[in-house]
Amino acid sequence: MQAVHTREPPQQPGGLNSSIWDSSAVLRRIRGPLLAQEMPSVSVLDYALPQRPPQARDEERDPSERALPRRSSSPIIGSPPVRAVPIGTPPKQAAIPNFNQQILCPKPVHIRATMQQRYPAPYGERMSPNQLCNVPNSSLLGHPFPHSVSPVLTHLQRAQLLGGAQAGRMSPSQFARVSGLVGSPLPSVNPKLLQGRVGQMMSPAGGFRAFFGAPPAPPPSQLPHPPGPGSHLQNLRPQPQMFRPDTTHLHPQHRRLLHQRQQQNRNQHRSLNGSGGDRGGHRSSHQEQIRKDPYANLMLQREKDWVSKIQMMQLQSTDPYLDDYYYQNYFQKLEKLAAAEEVHGDGPKKERTKLITPQVAKLEHTYKPVQFEGSLGKLTVSSVNNPRKMIDAVVTSRSEDDETKEKQVRDKRRQTLVTIEKTYSLLLDVEDYERRYLLSLEGERPALMGERKQKICDIYDNLRGKAPGQDRLSDDHFMQIMCIRKGKRLVARILPFLAPEQAADVLMATARNLPFLIKKDAQDEVLPCLLRPFSHVLYHLPLGTVTSLVQQLTNLPQSAAAPTNLHLTAVLQNKFGLSLLYLVLSRGEELQSSDTNTELMQDNQWTELMLMATRELLRIPQGALAKPVSIPSNLISLFSRYVDQQKLNLLETKLHLVQGIR
């Protein structure tokens, strides 16, 4: 894309390159070696460079059509806006991608060849410091590098750097390939300009500031410079280590590794430069590899890093516990194991590299739609952050008359499902409070507790059906929930959090409607999951409640008219029912035997109930009985109170109460 240039008034002497805006963008045919005057060695670049006009110029014109006009070094004349590159764009290919690759055909390279021919006197004109950097053997480079290791960029290296800089889209990883370069590779990039630009771009500011040496303490308004080249230039001046603006989004491990790799590269290339053109011995294995697979390394290390970078970025989240719950738990378990091992074992501690998913601070974005000055009205822009209403969707609720019975049933079921889901969310929150409690400050804790209590109340309301005003007349709502597999599991998980009365209420409701539940559960067989929480609840119940529980379970006393106790039969024929009955009986027995001064009234009730229950139990044929989950040990003593020895024996055999008979 060509920038629009306007012709500027006559240039000020020795000053600003305002003529960069001249329309000089003409693609000229390539004609012979272009750098013949300066660089006698022929490189691939020579074929590829667009031809420069032969006349000497005091203005720098960029002959290449596709290149951006060179930016001025002065902040007064603004440079054309840099297009921010979305993160999904791969890094721009350097002109010559790799030393190792054979260059099969010359690629058109748009390079500012002009850079290479400038050998101005130091401090002669007002030049950008970068130009000075690129000048080989400039006396400005006052660092004690030996001559052979002078930071002379070879053509290829320069081409890489400049070619990359060309399009104005610079990826941070580009600088990872900076080879042997002490200073900044970019021509005429002003740090102040950069500051306003894409945060993506790495600041080269650190580099050339070293050369000036003038300001000992860098002005705070300046861009922070990368610690990478800074550390490289340690002997020059200690640069304050500041945060690289572009890499803050990178994963900390990644950033560290990037630095390391940069260092490695620099060291490597420095040693390469020292040995001149011949690439040293460590390359031989490389060559071997290449011989075997000439297409290897089509994907550059830079590109691999880029993919890695994206993958790492995806791991960052504002709340890892929420986004990545399972991995966090797994990680914690591993650490606990490792810690335990460490304590016990005295072997060498295994250094296990684990992947950390870092927590990134949540940034508040306030989106303001773009506005232009002097325009009438606002733009209608619809984007992810600012969605526009496209369809006017109106919800019409259907009237009750139209619905068929089936639909009503389906809707009711759906409503129950929704209730279950809502209650589950509340439950998960409540379960999480312990963790939050540990993480929170002292002052916040009462508030957390209050929240938790409130949520538990809400859960109970959801469970038993709302309308806190009226009395809970029906178990209907609760039964609906219990008909669904997930609902039963939900109740099992909720029970530990409920208050004893509430839990007892749930237990009662279950017992009351047990045959119905059993019938519904025939396919799922999930009811036994309730046994454990029920048994926990039972431990806290007084005798009166237990008595009424037994009443509900066995449906005794029955009216005289009913011939058979269907309720009890159903209970006994089901695994869960029988197990629950045993549990309750066992608890009753416990209470009876332990508590000596129970109320007489309760005692009587209990005794009567037991008498009736045992009578029923005796009546039922053995084959009809289900196999319970567990048989409490004190049942024998329980029954022994109410029946004589003969009947006791019968009961024992029938219910397999005596161990070993089975």
Binding site: R261, L298, K304, I310, Q311, K354
Partner: protein, 133 residues
């Protein structure tokens, strides 16, 4: 340099020979040259391998660029063990013929099945018309 221990990343797999299974059932074997964040793959010297029974045939395809969403799975091929297979390689024409024959047989049996069900008054619902709930 392993950035991400404990995760799956294709970066280590580059320049190695892979077997890629696509969603449409094709099996491709080639050298993995390049990837991106969507697991789009560039396969080099790709060969499409058709398996019928104990026989297989290779069709050389050249360079493949596969869109990531179409990959079911991929795995590295151990070059030493590659030839250690009980399967027999045959020519392309032969394997294509075998494949055609197999397809035909399958269609025949499917037709018979549907016919038999229809006679009994049953019908196997097509997958796209199945109601979710």
């Amino acid at each position: 340099m392993n950035y991400m221990p404990g995760t799956a990343s294709l970066i280590q797999d580059i320049d190695k020979k892979h077997l890629v299974l696509l969603r449409d059932g094709r099996t491709l074997i080639g050298y993995l040259r390049s990837i991106d964040q969507f697991a789009n793959l560039v396969l080099h010297q790709t060969v499409e391998r058709i398996h019928v029974g104990k026989k297989y045939g290779d069709i050389p395809r050249g360079i493949f660029v596969v869109r990531g969403e179409n990959v079911v799975l991929l795995g590295e091929i151990d070059l030493e063990k590659e030839s250690d297979t009980p399967l027999q390689q045959v020519s392309i024409e032969e394997i294509l013929e075998e494949q055609r024959v197999k397809q035909q047989a399958k269609q025949e049996s499917e037709k018979l099945k549907v016919q038999a069900l229809k006679e009994r008054g049953l019908s196997v619902p097509r997958a796209d018309t199945l109601d979710e709930y």
